[in-house]
């Protein structure tokens, strides 16, 4: 979101932009989200406007499946080495879908965080931008198969394509590499290995129309609709053993999730275990809505342990209710871990970071960092930070 924003804003101010993205499609984490808080609106709505802005500006060159290998030079004259994954499907692709029809290989659907499968030749998702199929080179049978090449009417497939290196000369660099969710496997007591314990980002796909349940939340173990759901706030956050900081968005996100589930499944009983409920500004409205919802319950307390039942993959949650001082032991169909944000650093060792790995704002002159790679923030703040990075990148004096 931040990278797209910085690119379109700069392009519309008359600047030439190269947008480098490591995935096959734009949109990062937000394009995977079912909805935004506090409006419950679909991220694709704003993204679609931005895609249109990209199309109409004609000043943005997009390099997908590309990563920055090296940066050298000074502000005004940077040389950036970019590695692009083999373009097994090139831009002649019309997205007709024939390749996926004949492709014999399946792979986990990475866009849906591994829920469900796609073919090795696949469309990342239905709103994908750029609108083209891609081939997962790690599972494709290449010349042993070649069926997709035979059916492609547009010469768009080259299974012998090789990785490419491009060197770009640019004046300024904006780093908006965003975040990844904290690896919940590292949290010892929260039983993430159990199929029905999912992270908040996985829940976004489980709720999405384009997700495995096609808009109906089903728990992963048996595809049943869960009736009792626990949200574990600060899963790994505000914890010296994992992430000592607060990711600023997880409380609002869980409130959004709880309200969405409650609206779709009116008899679902939802418990939210929290330390503090941190919702910023007008997101407070969400908290009020959730507090007024009789199927949503709040428990101030940190989780002691989550364990999986032997019989049916239900989950047993042990916690202490700080307000009453009582110990709680409850059974749930599904548990959602509100895991925090970990910054993505594209160039370890070259980019300056703080003690938590966030990219510091003041890098080498002419390099600006923006949004969640810099500090935890929500979508709106990221857009703002990216726009702010845009003005910093057109400075004529420093």
């Amino acid at each position: 979101m931040a990278g797209i924003t910085a690119a379109v804003e700069l392009a519309e101010a008359g600047r030439e932009v190269v947008l480098v993205e490591k995935e096959a499609c734009l949109g990062g984490n937000v394009v995977r989200m079912n909805s935004y808080f506090p409006k419950f609106c679909p991220p694709n709505c704003g993204l679609e406007i931005n895609y249109r802005r990209i199309r109409s500006s004609r000043r943005i060159r997009i390099l997908t499946q590309s990563t920055v290998e090296h940066i050298e030079g000074v502000s005004g004259d940077f040389s950036v080495k970019i590695k692009t994954a083999p373009a097994y499907i090139n831009d002649l692709c019309t997205a007709c879908g024939k390749c996926a029809e004949v492709c014999p290989v399946e792979r986990p659907n990475a866009f849906n965080y591994g829920f469900g499968k796609t073919k090795a030749a696949y469309l990342p998702h239905e709103m994908t931008f750029p609108f083209t199929y891609v081939i997962d080179g790690t599972v494709c049978l290449k010349e042993q198969c070649g069926k997709c090449v035979e059916v492609c009417d547009y010469n768009a497939i080259d299974l012998n394509a090789e990785e490419e290196t491009t060197v770009l000369n640019v004046e300024r660099i904006i780093i908006a590499t965003g975040w990844k969710t904290f690896d919940a496997k590292k949290i010892k007591n929260l039983c993430y290995a159990a199929p029905n314990v999912v992270t908040n980002v996985e829940l976004e796909r489980l709720l999405a129309v384009g997700g495995p349940g096609e808009g109906t939340l089903k728990r992963p173990s048996d595809h049943e609709i869960p009736r009792t759901i626990a949200f574990v706030q600060c899963a790994g956050s505000r914890d010296e053993n994992y992430l000592p900081y607060c990711s600023a968005v997880c409380c609002s996100a869980s409130l959004k999730h709880a309200l969405t589930i409650s609206e779709r499944c009116t008899d679902a009983q939802i418990s939210i275990y929290y330390i503090d409920l941190r919702v910023s500004g007008r997101n407070e409205d969400l908290l009020v809505k959730a507090e007024n919802n009789k199927n949503i319950r709040f428990i101030k307390g940190k989780i002691g342990r989550i364990s999986e039942s032997d019989d049916n993959h239900d989950l047993e949650v042990e916690a202490e209710d700080i307000l009453s001082g009582r110990k709680i032991k409850e059974r749930y169909d599904m548990v959602v871990l509100a895991t925090g944000m970990v910054p993505n650093n594209p160039l370890e060792g070259i980019i300056l970071t703080d003690s938590e790995g966030f990219l510091v704002e003041n890098q080498l002159e002419g390099i600006v960092t923006a949004a969640t790679c810099r500090k935890p923030m929500d979508v709106s703040e990221s857009v703002k930070d990216a726009t702010s990075a845009a003005v910093k990148s057109i400075k004529t004096n420093f």
Binding site: C96, P244, G281, A390, V391
Partner: protein, 703 residues
């Protein structure tokens, strides 16, 4: 046809297998196409070469490309000289309808005719240029936000006029003793950054600072705002864009007497307490101080929202107390401690001090007891009901955005920026946080949302970038967000105008002013090109070069309506091009099945649909009209704010039209669809077809 139009039909992606291209070509020729060419893959290298070579040396009005969605292969067929129109035969016909079926063929032929009509009825837009263009920027308010905006604009090479009503720059940030920690290691109070910024201001030649000055009036439009200043400086300046950084006011504590304010001398606000520290009056701070968090915030009676900074401020003020009086005791009563991000480290540092006692709880009473104050707290972590005796109570008060009326905009719709909930002047605060409803005027800082100082500085930079961008776009004659780059703009045929004022009232962006008679005065550079004024005008006065009443009427007429005896209904669907249209494309990509009886017309906003289009369609024999727009209401998704709301409102008017035509009310239906709800589209259309079937064919058919 007097306007020469070239037509290209792509038969790739199974379009050729689904649709009889030769019959389609026959339709094109019958409709007077200058030429009609077919290609098996128009987007291939060979295809684009073919496309451009065919266009060489041809005098044409425009081109129709019948192929995939305009959202696909965008830019590939754009032509500097020619109008180009894409007819969506792939996503919206061949991928969703039965291949080879006569109804599919009819749909394709109708869409081709509609595309031809659209080009024939359009002209190439000529960019709007005002008589004068300024690249200078006005920044209103010289607090941390305004100062930052001015400095950033100057650094980017733009001249700035910075207006401040007080006698010096700095605003509220310059009254702070210190700042909540914002950088590593996040555990020490930071020096206020504002003073460095004020110093920097003195070194910049291109920033004109006007202190003790207010804005008398702002007239004009982006690129050419005429700003009259009043006060220490009196005069007029011209600017291209404006950043509004008027900041916040602390919540009025007189409403907090239940917490002792105004009743007990030892009760003060966090703002007043900050002043004690900033002016080093430590001796006035007694030994036992209690902070009440959310004194006004998160409270429907006072401020329903969270001000984001009060928790950090209290932790900071508690730290000051303890630094200056090692024997002091501090109590903090909170609902939740909100220290987002790395501020958590500051919270942890403060927690390490045993003399700062924090508990969740609700304050139920603040009562005098001799020289001390008894604070009653309910539901605390310590006990159900406790009384804490203290010497001073500090009420953590939240932020109220400054009213923007003082901008004194000479706009027909009012002097300030239109506001959303809680008086924040924005329109799409998640995806497009800077978009106010006044083009070229951007809100930044605490006027827009509660935020801390680093956040204000980022916000200022972002807003000033938007101002720069607007100046550059207007210079090129282009629209800004969301139809960025659009060169068309509304033109008014005044002879027919009846001064009904609908356009001046309904424009979401206040583009139209009015003279004393109520005649609209357009300001094209304020316009976002949504076309809502087209929808509002009963006299068909307003048109864009490539989007007009007449053009659309021709598009509607281009659909062939089968006669009653064929028993093939026709539904006309006006769909929002921003969300519903992409959703129809998604349905195509998912190969969902959509009835071939519907004809889709993308519109700039559902609010741009004019009544005439609907009555024309009904008198031509369409059996039903669907209007598919974005969600209205508090959580609206309309990119033009109230386009879909207007559609609902105009519904009543439309029902009257139906009555006069003696038609059933079901003949018009409005549906709100989110971009992700593509899965609902087949159902929406089938349900409507069933409804229509029940009331039978439109009696106007064949008349």
């Amino acid at each position: 046809m007097d306007r020469k139009i070239g037509i290209f039909i792509c038969s790739g992606c199974d379009i050729g297998k689904s649709i009889d291209i030769s019959r389609l070509k026959a339709v094109a020729e019958k409709h007077g196409a200058a030429f009609c060419r077919e290609h098996p893959a128009l987007c291939s290298k060979n295809g684009t070469d073919f496309y451009y070579s065919e266009l060489e040396n041809k005098e044409l009005h425009g081109v129709v490309i019948a192929a995939c969605s305009p959202r696909s292969k965008a830019g590939m067929f754009d032509h500097d000289r020619l109008l180009t129109e894409r007819v969506n035969l792939r996503e919206q016909v061949s991928w969703v309808m039965e291949p080879g079926h006569q109804d599919t063929q009819s749909a394709a032929e109708d869409y081709l005719r509609m595309g031809i009509a659209r080009v024939a009825g359009s002209a190439r837009p000529v960019p709007f240029r005002d008589s004068y263009h300024s690249s200078e920027i006005l920044v209103v308010g010289a607090g941390i936000t305004g100062l930052t905006a001015a400095l950033e604009a100057d650094s980017a090479g733009y001249v700035v006029h910075l207006v401040e009503k007080a006698d010096r720059p700095g605003g509220y940030a310059s009254k702070l003793a210190g700042q909540i920690p914002y950088k590593e290691p996040f555990n020490r109070i930071a020096d206020p950054v504002i003073f460095k910024r004020i110093e920097e201001l003195g070194t910049r030649k291109n920033i004109n600072l006007y202190i003790k000055t207010t804005i008398a009036t702002i007239k004009g439009q982006p690129g050419n705002f005429e700003v009259t200043l009043h006060g220490a400086y009196n005069g007029t300046i011209r600017v291209g864009a404006i950043v509004t950084a008027m900041g916040m006011k602390p919540y009025d504590p007189s409403a907090l007497s239940h917490l002792g304010y105004g009743r007990l001398p030892g009760v003060l606000t966090s703002v007043e307490f900050e002043e004690l520290i900033a002016t080093r009056r430590y001796s006035e701070i007694p030994g036992r101080v209690l902070f009440i968090q959310c004194a006004d915030s998160r409270d429907r009676e006072h401020l329903p929202y969270c001000s984001n900074t009060c928790c950090g401020t209290t932790l900071k003020q508690a730290t000051y107390i303890r630094e200056h009086n090692p024997s002091a005791e501090v109590y903090i009563i909170y609902k939740d401690i909100r220290t987002p991000g790395l501020q958590e480290k500051f919270y942890r540092a403060v927690q390490g001090d045993d003399a700062i006692m924090m508990t969740k709880g609700a304050v139920t009473g603040v009562n005098p007891n001799g020289n001390q104050i008894d604070v009653e707290v309910k539901d605390s972590l310590i006990d159900e009901q406790i009384v804490i005796p203290v010497d001073m109570v500090v009420l953590a008060v939240g932020m109220v955005p400054t009213a923007t009326e003082d901008l004194n905009l000479q706009y027909r719709q009012g002097t300030g920026l239109p506001e959303l909930k809680y008086r924040f002047p924005d329109s799409h605060f998640i995806c497009f946080p800077y978009e106010t409803r006044r083009t070229g005027i951007y809100a930044a800082g605490t006027i827009r949302a509660p935020m801390d100082i680093p956040s204000c500085m980022a916000d200022a930079s972002g807003a000033v970038f938007k101002a720069i961008q607007c100046i550059e776009a207007v210079k090129r004659g282009e629209a800004v967000h969301p139809r960025s780059g659009d060169l068309s703009w509304p033109e008014l045929y005044m002879d027919r105008c009846t001064d009904c004022k609908r356009c001046t009232e309904e424009c979401p962006f206040g583009s139209y002013d009015e003279n004393e008679k109520g005649t609209p005065i357009p300001n094209p550079a304020r316009c976002r090109r949504c076309g809502i004024c087209i929808g509002s005008c009963p006299e068909r006065v307003i048109s864009f070069k490539d989007y007009s009443i007449n053009m659309m009427t021709e598009v509607i007429k281009a659909v062939h309506i089968p006669d009653e005896f064929e028993e093939k209904p026709r539904i006309l669907a006006f769909v929002c091009e921003n969300d519903a249209y992409p959703a129809f494309d998604m349905a195509g990509i998912k190969r969902l099945s959509i009835s071939p009886y519907v004809r889709i017309i993308p519109v700039r906003c559902i609010g741009s649909v004019n009544k005439v289009w609907i009555s024309d369609a009904l008198s031509l024999g369409f059996d039903g009209i669907l209007q598919i727009g974005c969600k209205p209401g508090e959580d609206y998704q309309c990119h033009y704010i109230h386009g879909s709301e207007l559609t609902e409102k105009r519904g009543k008017n439309l029902q009257e039209t139906l009555e006069t035509m003696m038609l059933e009310p079901e003949r018009i239906k409005t549906v709100f669809l989110e971009i992700n709800e593509y899965d609902k589209i087949p159902g929406i259309i089938n349900d409507y077809l069933e409804e229509i079937e029940l009331i039978g064919p439109n009696p106007f058919k064949g008349m």
